[in-house]
Symmetry: C2
Subunit: 141 residues, 2 copies
DNA sequence: TCTTGAACCTCTAGTGACTATAGGGATTAA
DNA sequence: TTAATCCCTATAGTCACTAGAGGTTCAAGA
C-alpha cells in the first residue's frame, strides 16, 4: 500500500530531490515516516504530485499551483477563479510568444544580411551595438 | 566627458546594480574611480553596455555575449563564428516558440471546455490531475 | 542471522542573472 | 553649510531546482 520516495519518483517522473523540495516549500504535505525516518507515501500523494508536475509542465509558477490546489480542494465552489488563473496564464504565454517571434525575426534579418565577410562589417555585431534598437526587457522569456 | 554610474544607467537603460554586477562578472571592465572611489565612465563604456543590453534583449546568455565581445574585438577575423552563434540561437528560439505554442493550445482547449460550473467538474482541474498527459520538461521555457 | 549494496536521510551550497537591503560615504546645488 | 541626491561595499534574497558530502536504513540473498 505505502511506498518510498523513490517509488513515488518513478510513478510521477518527478526527481527525488524535487519531491523533497516540494515538501520543504509546502507544496506537498509531510508524509508519515518509518521508524528509520524514511518517507512513506500513498496513492493520493502520487495524484497530487502528478497534478503539480503537469501544472509545472504547462508553465504555471509554484504560487499559481498553490492557488490551484487550494481551489481544487473546495469542489463545491464555482470554478470561475480557476478559469481566471488559466486565462491569465494564457495571456502571459501569448506575450512570451510574441516577444520570441520578434527576436527571431531580428536575428534572422541580421544573419541574412551578414555576407560571411569580416567582423568589421558583420551585421550581427552592428545590430547588437546599435543602441537605437529597443525591446522590452527579457524578464519572463 | 566622464560620467557617473547613474548617468551610464540613464544612457543605456541598464539599472545601476546590474552595471555593477556586469563589472563583477567581468562583462564590463573596471572603470577608473574618483578620489572618493566613485566610478567614472566614458562614451565607449556606454557603447559596450548597449551592445550587452541589446544582446540580452535578444535572448543571448551572458556566456554567448562574452564570446561575441571577444570576437568583435578581433575585427579582421571572418564572421562565420558570430554567424554560427546567432544561428544556434535562432534554433533555440524556434524550440521555445514551438513549445509555448503547444502549451497554449492545450490550456486554451482546457479553458474552452470549462463551462464555468463548479470546481468538482472543472476541466482545468481534471486536465491537470490527469497524469497521462506528457510534455517535455520546461527546462528552457 | 548476517551481509551487502542500493536507496534513503539531512544539510549545505551552487545555478543564472539579477534585485534588495543595510549602513555608510561622496558630490552637488542652494 | 546644509540638505538632497547620489554613490559605495557587502551580504542576502529571488526562482525552481540540482549537486554533493557524509552518514543511516532497508530489502534481499547466502
Amino acid at each position: 500500500m505505502e511506498f518510498s520516495i523513490g517509488e513515488l519518483a518513478r510513478r510521477t517522473r518527478v526527481k527525488v530531490p524535487t519531491i523533497r523540495y516540494y515538501e520543504q516549500i509546502g507544496l506537498l504535505p509531510s508524509p508519515p515516516r518509518t521508524e528509520g525516518k524514511q518517507r512513506r507515501y500513498e496513492a493520493s500523494d502520487a495524484s497530487r504530485l502528478n497534478f503539480i508536475r503537469h501544472a509545472r509542465e504547462l508553465g504555471f509558477e509554484v504560487d499559481a499551483i498553490r492557488e490551484l490546489l487550494a481551489l481544487s480542494a473546495k469542489p463545491n465552489q464555482p470554478c470561475a477563479d480557476i478559469d481566471d488563473i488559466a486565462r491569465r496564464h494564457i495571456g502571459e504565454i501569448d506575450q512570451r510568444i510574441a516577444h520570441l517571434v520578434s527576436l527571431r525575426a531580428e536575428l534572422q534579418r541580421t544573419v541574412d544580411e551578414c555576407g560571411r565577410g569580416r567582423v568589421c562589417e558583420c551585421r550581427v555585431i552592428e545590430t547588437l551595438a546599435d543602441s537605437s534598437h529597443y525591446h522590452e526587457r527579457l524578464a519572463a522569456v
